[in-house]
Amino acid sequence: MEKLIIEPTANSPRIVLDPEGRNFEFSGESRPENVRKFYLPVLEWLEAYTAAQQELNDDERTFGLQCQFNFEYFNSTSAKYILDIFKSLNAINALGIGLDIKWLYEEDDEDMLEVGQEMSRMSKLSFEYIIS
């Protein structure tokens, strides 16, 4: 599947979904003018990727995806879509594709750490928390 790369702007994050490089990455600030319009292609890509992986036999699937979330800030509307991304990742994880999810936060940014812990709990995925 073709990789998806979205370059960052002042109000939207950089997104890389590169299955060949086994790398998923989200970084920067997220408060785009139209949050739904911004995240819909990402969710559709993840859905298509899950469907494509489902078609494969266990031994043909990708294994070991590095997923890095390094948000500087996201607004409450983006939070809804970021949780949807984690729910999609949960579906991918359920196929036996090992996901290594890293949630980065700045040293004293307890709010960002806490929101990561909430996202992990709500999506039933394990995160590794790393000080950026």
Binding site: N11, E33, R36, Y73, N75, S76, T77, D108, D109
Partner: protein, 180 residues
């Protein structure tokens, strides 16, 4: 005289960082956020507090986008345009936002505000989880996630006022003091 000296006392050290009145577009929002980022009082804050102030300004403006009554620009100018204020006093930041709403929005807004004002952080987090997991549609102009997020960033109640502002319209303001 006593009143004035008490007033002077209250206003001591009060610094206005943003004082904006007018129609708010996405572009104006960018300018206001840049203005905030340049303010020395803002830059003196530790990083997490900075993010709380920044986030509260973003959510306040998003609320104006979501709830502002769809009135004609001219009417908006004549009546009371949306407003956004960021003030700092002795290191404590307060974000205020105001806009016209339709009278039939008042009950819904009051319900959401009273609901979050009554909750402690644990209850707010439970409500956050309930709301974030609800499917939203295009027509949904905000399930209240913004208000919950703002309530989590203050250790005081969100103060709000409704003032009649012409036929069918009310001017709604809210003030959020950011917790340290």
């Amino acid at each position: 005289m006593l009143f004035f000296s008490y007033f002077d006392f209250l206003m001591a050290n009060l610094e206005v960082i943003i004082d904006f009145k007018g129609s708010i577009s996405f572009e104006i929002m960018e300018n206001l956020l840049n203005q905030l980022k340049r303010a020395k009082q803002f830059n003196a804050l530790r990083k997490p507090l900075k993010k709380r102030v920044y986030g509260t300004v973003v959510e306040s403006i998003d609320n104006i986008f979501k709830y502002a009554a769809p009135v004609e620009e001219k009417f908006n100018e004549l009546q009371r345009p949306p407003m956004l204020m960021v003030e700092e006093q002795d290191g404590k930041f307060t974000v205020s936002a105001g806009n016209l709403v339709l009278n039939d929005q008042i009950d819904g807004l009051r319900f959401k505000l009273n609901r979050v004002n009554k909750m402690d952080d644990e209850a707010l987090k439970r409500l956050y989880e309930e709301v974030i997991n609800k499917e939203t549609s295009d027509e949904d102009r905000g399930a209240g996630l913004g208000l919950i997020t703002m309530a989590l960033r203050t250790d005081e109640e969100i103060r709000y006022h409704f003032v009649p502002a012409g036929p069918g319209l009310t001017y709604f303001t809210m003030h959020i003091s950011i917790k340290e």
